[in-house]
């Protein structure tokens, strides 16, 4: 160990959250006896101002050069305590936390066992912190231009917001026109304003902005570099391939609709009068609410949750279909008051502003609601010659427990949203991850909803998960705000935790080269050495574990630091009585 360590140890009672199970005094006493520990204190709320001041004062007055705080999860208050160190002029990376709340006092009842565990975790933290090194953040410039992928409602919003803030934007759209899926809709729920109007306003602003470069029939083929300093290669069909310098990328690539032919019993593709919600939107836009052979439908059946909330297809809710289905009821009843509209639904999810009110109003239109069991969608068949309709929709009605044949001239399938089939290519190109359903993953669902694993790459709209227009626009504007905040600074601080290759130890074996998901490792064929471009590195450490020469160090997660933790957690426990 380092002889000159003067460690301050602080254990938080967190009111009674920690102290009612963990004997903080006992932990203090045991930790105080460890080599290098200069002081050990317990306090009611370490994260409070007096708690932080206690640390800063001790650093100044007692000459502490390392701090361990045993408290809540570092995911909660590590930034707080790092600031306390900085306030006393100590490098923030000389802090280590022991998580004795979320992972100890909140989950264990037995005070003796919980206290023993807290001691072990604190011991490990003390042993680890001895090998902490002061780390300095690295600064890089931030290019003002932004690349926006996708010209749907989210992408348009991002692009317009940035361009109108006088920042250059490249809006890349794969199709020949802007608008995305919103461009395929007629009216929007719950206020029944026209999708066309919403889009037209945005597109007009986009086209009018001198800062906004719209690249239609184009796609991103390669993205190199790092936050603030990306180089994007964009290829335009029948046009030039461009190399763009951008500081940030906002991915707004949207969704695709569920393929209704996958649920055979719905009859989509077999019966021309079974249509998807998008096909109905098209008919509504054209003002032709009729069957395939041009008749006015007397019976319209709307099937909810097609592909959504179904364990065999997509387990999640697509969020917009219930409201859209209610909108259809409204539009059909307005156009054809005599038509009988039946909603076959699983649950009515009319959440959100104006949702419940819209549900109440449309249900007053005397549409019929029949409930079916999740995973047991209705079965569509041709009606008998004597029947008064073209199709019969058989449903196992859940509330009555009866099998009901619903007459229909037109069956509308509320097809759910799914991640785009080419989402994986986009994810790989820009270096973001996808969940099991293929949706792009945000850094934190609550605290960082538009950031991603790659710094400088943001996501907005339905590529992240199904959402309605207000949510997409809100995310888009959030992403634009994130970009503008960085652009305003003109520079970026790169996290001090990254991997480093010691050129004196690198053997040029190239074992690590293919492992980095961010292509942060480059190989110099002349020197025969690999090196890490620190700004690209996300500090996962997978190359560190692989490096056979031991030439790669994970800053703040070094082998030595982790070895110390391993020995620390076991030093007292493995000598237990058994």
């Amino acid at each position: 160990m380092k002889d000159d360590c003067r460690i301050g140890f602080y254990i938080c009672n967190c009111g009674t959250n920690i102290a009612k199970v963990v004997d903080a005094e006992q932990v203090c006493e045991r930790i105080a006896g460890l080599p290098g520990v200069a002081c050990a204190r317990a306090y009611k709320y370490m994260c409070s101002n007096p708690g932080q001041e206690m640390i800063t004062r001790d650093i100044r007055e007692r000459g502490l050069n390392r701090v361990v705080v045993a408290a809540c999860s570092p995911r909660m208050h590590e930034p707080t305590f790092r600031k306390a160190l900085e306030a006393a002029g100590l490098n923030p990376y000389l802090l280590e936390m022991a998580n004795i709340r979320e992972q100890c006092s909140w989950v264990h009842d037995d005070p003796r066992a919980a206290t023993a565990k807290a001691c072990d975790l604190a011991h490990a933290a003390v042993r680890r912190v001895r090998y902490h090194q002061p780390l300095e953040k690295v600064e890089a410039s931030y290019a003002p231009a932004t690349l926006v992928l996708g010209g749907g409602i989210a992408g348009l919003t991002v692009a317009v917001e940035l361009a109108e803030a006088s920042q250059p934007v490249y809006l890349v759209e794969r199709e020949g026109k802007l608008g995305g899926n919103v461009g395929r809709a007629d009216l929007t729920a719950p206020y029944l304003d026209s999708a066309r109007d919403i889009l037209a306003e945005k597109i007009a602003r986009a086209e009018a902005s001198p800062k906004l470069d719209i690249l239609l029939r184009s796609e991103l083929v390669e993205l190199r570099g790092f936050v603030g300093n990306f180089r994007a290669t964009v290829r335009t069909t029948g046009g030039p391939t461009r190399d763009l310098a951008v500081g940030a990328v906002v991915v707004c690539t949207g969704y695709q609709e569920f393929d209704a032919t996958r649920i055979e019993r719905l009859g989509y593709g077999r019966f021309p009068d079974v249509i998807t919600s998008f096909e109905l939107e098209r008919r509504l836009r054209m003002g032709r609410l009729e069957t395939d052979d041009g008749r006015i439908p007397r019976y319209v059946s709307i099937v909810h949750c097609v592909g959504s909330r179904n364990p065999r297809y997509h387990p999640y809710c697509s969020r917009v279909c219930c409201m859209t289905a209610l909108k259809y009821g409204h539009e059909i009843k307005s156009a054809l008051p005599a038509a009988m509209v039946t909603d076959l639904y699983v649950d009515m999810l009319s959440f959100g502003k104006g949702g419940e009110d819209f549900y109440r109003r449309t249900s007053e239109l005397k549409t019929m609601f029949l409930m079916y069991e999740k995973g047991d969608p209705p079965r569509v068949r041709a009606a008998e010659p004597g029947d008064d309709c073209g199709l019969l929709v058989q449903v196992n009605e859940r509330l009555s427990g009866e099998v009901i044949d619903v007459p229909a001239d037109l069956v509308v399938l509320m097809v759910g949203m799914e991640a785009r089939a080419d989402g994986g290519d986009v994810a790989r190109t820009v270096g973001i991850s996808q969940d099991r359903q293929g949706w792009f993953i945000e850094s934190h669902p609550k605290l960082a909803p538009v950031s991603t694993a790659t710094e400088g790459v943001y996501i907005a709209g339905c590529c992240q998960s199904p959402k309605d227009i207000p949510d997409s626009v809100a995310q888009a504007r959030a992403a634009a705000a994130m970009v503008l905040a960085h652009v305003a600074q003109g520079k970026i601080e790169v996290d001090a935790r990254f991997a480093e290759i010691d050129p004196d130890r690198c053997s040029g074996c190239r074992m690590c080269n293919e492992l980095c998901p961010y292509t942060a490792i480059t190989f110099d064929p002349d020197e025969r050495r690999s090196s890490v471009q620190s700004a690209l590195c996300k500090a996962c450490g997978t190359c560190v574990a692989a490096c056979p020469s031991g030439a790669i160090t994970a800053r703040h997660f070094t082998d030595k630091q982790i070895f110390e933790q391993i020995e620390g957690v076991l030093a007292w426990s493995s000598s237990r009585s058994s």
């Binding site: 999860s73 995911r75 979320e102 565990k117 072990d120 991850s433 998901p517 996962c540 574990a545 957690v569």
Partner: protein
């Protein structure tokens, strides 16, 4: 007193550690036998860490990462999957019961699953008993204590021993 195993856990910051925190915020009680070490990604887990934990007296080692396809670092967990497979072969060669080393995928939303996993592994290790792999070079002086009874008994049974 019942044997209480100590499990060293290596949890990735983004999924599993967050899942463990979620078990906390949701107050999902579980056995206090796990000692967690946070890493940024399960891909950081060098097999040396696992061996080191056993050498330092752990009764079991639990490595947790994001579900395949969900990795915060896109595919770090696939590297973990491969390393743990080969490490598993070594662990078996060492004569360490393979139930003592587990690789599990725990997402940030699986607090309940995390808690059950800790309980399950604790109970399993209780039945297996302590892992006596803490080597002590200090015991060298007493390293030799003659042939064990097992061999001696075998020799006696064969009845044809000539003492050289």
């Amino acid at each position: 007193m019942e044997f209480e195993p100590i499990i060293v856990g290596f949890l990735c910051n983004w999924c599993s550690y967050t899942g463990a925190d979620l078990a906390g915020t949701a107050r999902i009680k579980h056995r206090p036998n796990l000692r967690t070490i946070r890493v940024m990604c399960s891909g950081r887990v060098d097999p040396t860490f696992v061996l080191k934990a056993f050498a330092a007296g752990a009764d079991g080692v639990l490595v947790c990462g994001c579900h395949p396809g969900d990795c915060h670092y896109i595919e770090g967990n696939y590297k973990t999957m491969r390393r743990m497979e080969l490490l598993g072969q070594l662990v078996r060669a060492y004569g360490i019961d393979e139930r003592r080393v587990r690789l599990e995928w725990v997402s940030a939303s699986e607090g309940e699953r995390f808690a059950r996993l800790v309980d399950e592994m604790t109970l399993e290790l209780r039945q297996l008993g302590p892992c006596k792999l803490r080597p002590t070079v200090a015991a060298l002086a007493n390293d030799f204590d003659g042939l064990s009874r097992a061999v001696t008994a075998q020799v006696a049974a064969s009845g044809e021993v000539t003492h050289g």
